[in-house]
């Protein structure tokens, strides 16, 4: 069945460094991949998405890379700040069949940024 997983459950970086959060997925039929940030006591916040026919998409301080050959997704955060400390989830969206409307989430990576 579908699954989205993460290589690393925790990541610690120094303020100002670049962060890379990785995600493996298994559903080659997914149409979109999405990254969310969840701070303590809050709901997930949309960061960026990428369509399955793209390899790279950039936002403000963030870049998402998609490698369909190895079914791998990554989120790069430039000049990481203490406010970036949170749990980051990757999610996939497959518009077909029984997955219609459903986001499938990975387990999450805890990012800690040290001042």
């Amino acid at each position: 069945g579908e699954s989205v997983g993460l290589h690393l459950p925790t990541l610690s970086v120094q303020e100002g460094d670049n962060s890379i959060i990785n995600c493996a997925y298994s559903n080659s039929a997914s149409d979109y991949f999405i990254w969310y940030k969840q701070e303590s006591g809050k709901g997930p916040q949309f960061i960026i998405d990428i369509r399955s026919n793209m390899d790279k998409r950039q936002g403000q301080r963030v870049t998402v890379l998609l490698n369909k050959t190895v079914k791998h997704l990554s989120l790069q955060i430039a000049a990481t700040q203490p406010g970036d400390s949170a749990v980051y989830f990757c999610a996939e969206y497959d518009a077909g069949g029984t997955s219609y409307g459903k986001l499938t989430f990975g387990q999450g990576t805890i990012l800690t940024v040290h001042p």
Partner: protein, 114 residues
Amino acid sequence: EAGVTQSPTHLIKTRGQQATLRCSPISGHTSVYWYQQALGLGLQFLLWYDEGEERNRGNFPPRFSGRQFPNYSSELNVNALELEDSALYLCASSLGILAKNIQYFGAGTRLSVL
């Protein structure tokens, strides 16, 4: 512009009781989604409503149900509560059929079943 709002923030119930959780989507959004986030687990899809109709549901028993009102707000009802129902219940909304991949979440309702 207000985001997705959920109430109550916290809810404490005992086994066998019923819980009702409420959600108001972002203005203009017609789709509402419910997810369960149990401790140590990722988000699990529960239900999706659009234009008042249930469009899809996840692998949860029938005692998890809900509805969407004409103003697009939604309720999630959990009957015959069990201890393992304790979790953060998150509501999300999207613009509708054409934008399901971008879902905006509320802060959630923390349900504790004692």
